[in-house]
Symmetry: C2
Subunit: 343 residues, 2 copies
């Protein structure tokens, strides 16, 4: 229970005006006399009046708040996107309410419900690895609440989305390895339910096909984004009769896990095994050998997502085709994928 702050009514009483006039004066309504405006603003300033945004959002039915749901805040990957999102949002006068789903479908469902109850003006969601359908978002549609999915998305054209061209990212990375002369290329993939995982697998297979290299089932290991996922997957790969001579990992962390195992087993990078990660995290630049990585412009993705969402918030009625913005990844070639010339 807070201490009472100055309200419109207080100002009105002091000035001998009605609260409507005071309200209008403060917001610069044209129908208020200039002297009145000046007097009102002066008193408001002197008394430190600040409008109660809760009351305002109740009557205006908009809160200038955007709800954001991501799997985890502390993943630099998402934190970067948050930074970009925050930047654009606050420029437009919006605040961000940020929730993490902890990769749990149940939590995701619950925080979305809370955010809707809190009357956010729109939702920005990156789904969990467990989320395989949109059913928990359906009633949002009924509420006409604008929603944008970003990064972690599902197939379908229900919601506007912002994503990376993951197919292309994996494709250029794999082709780069092929160009370098690697031929037995494995892929440490992400959680199989995630669309991004499947897209990267698709790009990987596409590249092999372009080069007429047969796809080998045992070179595709489903795993996860974390370092220990990469370690486990790499162990499996090295246990094969014919281990790969290059690896494309689904994240930089997974790549570093793989790197650890590769080096522990006495192989050298990039001579014996080439390695490429995904995400372009700062880490990749400072390890030795430095890690070639598919860099994803996450801050840009955050910015673009909020811009798209704001468009839907500001012009809600406009019928528009299904929107899908796809950002280009960029291959940062570093040491870990540069195969020395064959002698």
């Amino acid at each position: 229970m807070r201490a009472k702050s100055v309200t419109l009514k207080d100002l009105a009483r002091e000035l001998g005006l009605s609260k409507s006039t005071v309200s209008r004066a403060l917001r610069g309504h044209p129908k208020v006399k200039v002297e009145t405006k000046i007097a009102v603003k002066a008193l408001a300033e002197a008394w430190g009046y600040e409008p109660d945004l809760v009351a305002r959002s109740l009557v205006q039915r908009q809160s200038f708040t955007i709800g954001v749901v991501i799997p985890r805040i502390e993943f630099p990957y998402f934190a970067m996107a948050l930074g970009g999102a925050q930047e654009v949002a606050s420029k437009a006068g919006y605040n961000l309410v940020i929730c993490q789903s902890n990769e749990s479908y149940e939590i995701e469902r619950s925080v979305i419900r809370t955010l809707v109850s809190s009357k956010v003006d729109g939702l920005l969601i990156s789904i969990t690895g467990q989320t395989t359908a949109y059913d928990h978002m359906e009633d949002i549609h009924k509420h006409r609440l604008p929603i944008v999915l970003f990064d972690r998305i599902l197939e379908g054209d229900v919601f506007p989305m912002v994503s990376m061209d993951n197919v292309r990212g994996a494709l250029i990375a794999t082709e780069h390895l092929l160009t370098q002369g690697y031929r037995r290329i494995a892929h440490i993939a992400g959680p199989p339910d995630l669309f991004v995982s499947r897209q990267r697998i698709q790009g990987y297979r596409q590249a092999l096909q372009n080069w007429d290299i047969p796809f080998r089932e045992e070179y595709l290991v489903s795993s996860g984004f974390r370092m220990n996922n990469g370690e486990e997957a790499m162990k499996k790969l090295l246990d094969l009769d014919q281990p790969p001579d290059a690896v494309l990992a689904v994240s930089d962390n997974a790549a570093l896990g793989a790197k650890k195992v590769i080096e522990a087993e006495g192989f050298t990078i990039p001579d014996q095994i080439g390695l490429i990660g995904f995400n372009g995290e700062p880490l990749s630049k400072v390890v030795r050998p430095s890690l070639t990585t598919v860099s994803l412009p996450m801050a840009e993705m955050g910015r673009v997502s909020v811009k798209l969402l704001l468009k839907h918030i500001v012009y809600p009625a406009e019928p528009r085709p299904h929107e899908m913005i796809i950002l280009p990844p960029q291959l940062l070639v570093r040491e870990s994928s540069l195969k020395p010339e064959q002698v």
Copy 2:
């Protein structure tokens, strides 16, 4: 402008009850007949009623929202704290509204004002490098709005705080270098206005004093937390007539910047120059040589800060002494500070 959702009034009309009764039934008020409760809850469920949290916070004068202000979301350092904070907050039924001040005093001032207007129940703040006084937070005190400062704090006993024992962190790091046999130890320090910078300097000087090593002005370089800060500072240090044989940097990033310069100049780590960073970021483990670092439990700091804030929110009246929670840092000894035995 949203589509209308189901309200108490709708339910009341349908059931032939008053909205007071419906409201009480849904919240399990004891004075409502059991059958009524069941009927109300059934209809609420069927119609997908969700209470409007905005209206509720207007009348209850609490929003179950905590405002967080940090310099930058995307710094892993703060992102970790956010993760811990979110965890505790959501367990207690609170949401986090997160704003970044971008290291600007003006933005900090403005977002705090907005958060107060939004009637958050409490504030969690880590100040900018420009913030040298509390004046913009004074009126919060008048509003009786609980506030907790964390990590980046100012001296004083106005607000409860959660911080690291930075003095001790710098002290054990420096003493570790001394134990290893390094004698010309430099310190790449943070922005001079920040309390944490000054604390780390204090710990560094304390260690030198404990070992009767004279403090040398030219070995203390004011800098910043970023990688390029570390680079510039290190260049200055290497330009000295007698360059240092070990460096304690104010952050892991600054340390990596220093490392780059050290290696570019042909020195080896840890043989010729020992190096220690601050923060315990994931980076530090994967570089070669791996980086000794003063690890700060940021997630824990986030958790503790929210817990403290919640205590002030729930029991606001209780007079209590000035609270200051100090978390212990931990020295993670890795390769970069292990001086080989002298021959």
